[in-house]
């Protein structure tokens, strides 16, 4: 039949697209979930194979021309170590979160629209995968809108738990659309100046046409792309939409978003800054390195302090996510090998840790119906595995040795010190870790050293359907903390190719 290997890049996107649409025909009950699990599982399998293909290929890159049109005219899928890695993260976390979603969706989403929910869910993952796999600037925008629209709808589905979900969703919709419009505008400016939409082609034109990089149009395109991407990935001063969205979204959606959505935003920033503009322009000619470093440092410190003050644990994790995103931005803004490698590694590590922590909180919500700091009091004895998962995840956020977080922070600190005069940045990384100690400790203290509120009924441990996905992610964060060969290798390969300009 069809040679799957030859079509992997396109199958990764079209299989969940077609399957996602068919989800609405699966009826009620467990069937939409089973179908969605099957689809995301297939996608995960494809991403693994694609990763192997990329690693095995001599050029370190797999290209697929859609419709067989030459890449300069048609749309090209272009996969190198970096996006194969991001695809693997989105595919893997997407699959595991889908398994996890079953019980929490049964509880939080009205039964008569579960099929629509999973259709939108699978399409959201499709959009994220599509952004990651493409090598065409405008295709990024279209897929970005798919992932955004689906995410607005998914967040709003928390409306039956809390009406704040609606305003959170609308606020994200407006900010997100403004951000996406800025990206569209930036792409337009670039297209006008270069005459093409293919990322590689754009890069070649920007490098080869004399005087083009000094053009004020390119400069403004750069600024607006950066602003738009900043909004989409919730970079510190532009993160206003994120805390509410994560707080009020259904538990499974929070886990999916925290692990994948902002990561794909960061990936887009990688592509635009490094692949299209090139490291020489983005961090040499433009002061963006300095701006990003300032934003990232401020983000790490401010959100760390804010997270400590939250009583709602989902909100606390949301602020922590903005802070952790600061590390990722800090890493690539250093624009040196270890900084970028740390950034890429942290994308993966944060995805598994935060995904697992949100799942643990979802399990708490599933059992107690609440997720404030009081609701976890004494839960360490009643839900030992869930709270242990949360604690191990928290250790990862701190960057404790033998967790994955340690590896990425190690690279980051190395990157900071490689930069001349970069030690204050290293200090920021360390202070951020201390702040993470404080906010994780609050939960640990409540869970293990306080008695449950009198009058609250005792609860059971979370069901296995939640524990297994949760511990898969948390287990991954431990495994890749001990054995960092794979992630380290990929991160360094990706960093080298990004610094080389072209993938």
């Amino acid at each position: 039949m069809v040679d799957v290997q030859a079509h992997l890049p396109v199958l990764i996107v079209t299989v969940p697209l077609i399957g996602g649409i068919l989800t609405i025909a699966t009826g009620r009950g467990w069937k939409p979930w089973a179908w969605a699990t099957f689809l995301t599982g297939t996608v995960f399998y494809f991403t693994i194979r694609l990763m192997m293909q990329v690693l095995a290929s001599k050029t370190g890159m797999v290209s697929y021309e859609l419709g067989n049109w030459p890449r300069q005219w048609g749309i090209e899928y272009r996969v190198d170590a970096l996006n194969a890695f991001i695809l693997l993260i989105v595919g893997g976390v997407g699959f595991i979160t889908t398994i996890y979603a079953k019980l929490s969706v049964e509880k939080e989403i009205p039964a008569d629209r579960v099929n629509f929910f999973y259709a939108v869910w699978v399409l959201a993952i499709t959009g994220l995968l599509g952004i990651t796999v493409t090598g065409d600037a405008f295709n990024v925008y279209v897929l970005l809108e798919i992932s955004s629209l689906t995410v607005y709808a998914l967040i709003a589905m928390g409306k039956d738990m809390h009406r704040g979900a609606l305003t959170a969703s609308l606020r994200y919709l407006i900010l997100g659309s403004v951000g996406a419009s800025f990206i569209l505008l930036g792409i337009g400016y670039l297209m006008m100046i270069t005459g093409t939409l293919n990322m590689q082609d754009m890069h070649d034109r920007l490098m080869s046409v004399p005087g083009i990089l000094e053009s004020r149009t390119v400069l403004v395109a750069f600024a607006f792309l950066l602003a738009g991407l900043g909004m989409k990935m919730a970079m510190f001063p532009l993160h206003m939409w994120l805390p509410r969205a994560y707080t009020y979204a259904p538990s499974a959606v929070s886990a999916l978003l925290a692990a994948t959505a902002t990561k794909v935003g960061v990936y887009m920033a990688f592509r635009f800054l490094f692949t299209i503009f090139g490291v020489g322009f983005s961090f040499g000619m433009m002061p963006s390195g300095l701006v990003l470093l300032l934003c990232a440092s401020a983000g790490i410190l401010v959100t760390g302090v804010t997270a400590i003050r939250q009583t709602n644990l989902k909100r606390m994790l949301a602020y922590s996510s903005v802070g952790q995103l600061g590390y990722i931005v800090l890493g690539f803004a250093l624009a040196n090998l270890h900084g970028i490698a740390g950034s890429v590694a942290h994308i993966f590590n944060h995805a598994v840790m935060k995904g697992g922590m949100f799942m643990a909180l979802g399990a708490v919500v599933y059992r107690t119906g609440r997720c404030d700091i009081r609701s976890v009091r004494g839960l360490g004895k009643q839900m030992p595995l869930t709270l242990a998962a949360f604690t191990v995840g928290g250790l990862g956020l701190i960057g404790f040795p033998l967790t994955a977080g340690f590896i990425s922070k190690w690279y980051l600190v190395q990157g900071c010190l490689e930069r001349p005069g970069g030690w204050p940045l290293a200090a920021v990384v360390l202070i951020g870790s201390l702040l993470a100690v404080v906010y994780t400790w609050r939960v640990v203290e409540a869970a293990y050293f306080q008695e449950p509120d009198p009058g609250t009924p005792p609860v059971e441990e979370a069901p296995l359907m939640m524990l297994i996905p949760m511990w898969t992610l948390i287990g991954a964060s431990i495994y890749f903390g001990i054995n960092a060969t794979f992630t380290g290798h990929i991160a360094l390969t990706a960093a080298r190719s990004l610094l080389g300009g072209a993938p």
Binding site: N68, W69, Q72
Partner: protein, 401 residues
């Protein structure tokens, strides 16, 4: 000063005034109607800039669907906006002014309006417009280049135009510099290419679609960038499903359906009954005709949706549901995207790449391309019309509760 610029200047002034009025007027119905006016003015602007497809879409979407959506929402939210405490929101004004200044700063190094030397007019796009992209590849599935065609020189062509004349009216430069230079549109080449020497095709260039698709907008939309359009259709589908998820309430049995309020209006009933078939026919025509002239799946889909909406307005939604029950509409919503992606998948199963329509016809690849484009246009049409109808139904149901 050309006529384009003159008309443009006047129209855009009107557009700007309308935009300010939309923002400033306090009655939301007025604001919604003004957006309709705004869209129609915009459609004129697009026509003036020769963008017929966009004008058609703008008129159908901005003037039609958006206004229906807005009015449908206003019915059950609010009529007027609350009076503002401050006349000018200074924070917004400052942010806006700064952003605008930055954008204007970026315009200074842009090629001037209509400049034929702008990169976008001579790099990459001319080949798409001449529909000769397939030659570059020469791989299985796309047509082989004609004899005497120097594919190597063509591939290494860097897009630089050797001599652009200063007189903008002299447009021969493009044919000579980009296309003829590489042996694409020169009649001698045509003659030596047997596939295109057949009757009826002897004059058109040896193109990607055997001359079936004179509208370059459609060829870009459905073929070269067909993959984007597939996701554009998915965006619409997503919006439809999101609306169902957010607005639809469980259907209660035995719920009294409001009878159609306009049914006793004889003139309305007769006229609409007579015009609905023609509207449907027109919609189908627009979808099918997309390859030849302005139009296509999206515009045609909106027109078809309008026919059904008119039917529902006059004869009541129960009557519409007898023709198209809600579950059928839901399924059709997805069917369009499935037709599109299924066409792509069929190409893949036939041994080509995803969306390589030339696989659909083994004898003549160009015919296959044209067939594939027709299929996907119908896919777009189905999804767009059914989503629009679904959105209308959701809003109308909201009203009748």
């Amino acid at each position: 000063m050309t006529s384009v610029v003159l008309i443009d200047t006047v129209l855009l002034l009107l557009v700007t005034v309308t935009a300010i009025a939309i923002i400033e007027v306090r009655n939301l119905y007025t604001s919604a109607m003004l957006t309709s006016v705004y869209s129609l003015l915009m459609a004129l602007v697009w026509v003036n800039m020769h963008s017929m497809d966009v004008a058609f879409t703008e008129a159908a979407v901005g003037g039609g669907i958006s206004t229906i959506l807005l009015i449908g929402t206003l019915v059950h939210t609010a009529r007027e906006e609350k009076p503002l405490k401050v006349r000018v929101h200074w924070k917004a004004a400052v942010v806006t002014a700064l952003t605008g200044a930055a954008l204007i700063y970026g315009t200074f190094d842009m090629p001037r309006f209509g400049d034929p030397k702008a990169p976008i007019h001579h790099f990459r796009v001319p080949e798409m417009m001449a529909q000769t992209v397939g030659f570059v590849n020469g791989t299985k599935g796309k047509q082989a280049p004609p004899e005497g065609f120097d594919a190597r020189a063509y591939r290494s062509f860097n897009g630089a135009v050797t001599s652009v004349p200063d007189d903008p009216k002299d447009t021969a430069w493009r044919e000579t510099s980009v296309l003829a230079q590489h042996g694409i549109i020169v009649p001698e080449v045509l003659g030596s290419h047997p596939q295109h020497a057949e009757a009826g095709h002897h004059l058109h260039p040896p193109d990607d679609f055997n001359g079936h698709v004179p509208n370059s907008v459609t060829s870009l939309l459905a073929a070269y960038r067909g993959y984007d359009t597939m996701f554009e259709t998915t965006v619409i589908f997503t919006a439809g499903v999101s609306l169902i998820m957010l607005l639809r309430r469980p259907r209660r049995e035995g719920q009294a359906q409001k009878s159609a309020p306009l049914l006793d209006q004889t003139i309305l009933r007769v006229v609409s009954k007579m015009s609905i078939p023609f509207i449907l026919l027109f919609g189908l025509y627009v979808i099918t005709h997309g390859e030849l002239g302005p139009g296509g799946g999206f515009q045609g889909g909106v027109v078809i949706a309008c026919a059904f909406i008119l039917y529902a307005l006059i004869f009541g939604r129960p009557a519409l549901y007898r023709v198209l029950p809600p579950p059928v509409i839901d399924m059709l919503t997805g069917l369009g995207v499935l037709v599109y992606s299924g066409t792509g998948a069929a190409c893949l199963l036939l041994g080509g790449k995803f969306l390589d329509y030339s696989m659909l016809d083994t004898v003549s690849p160009g015919e296959g391309e044209a067939l594939g484009m027709t299929l996907v246009e119908y896919g777009v049409g189905i999804t767009v019309s059914m989503v629009m109808l679904n959105i209308f139904n959701q809003l109308a149901e909201e009203e009748s509760r």
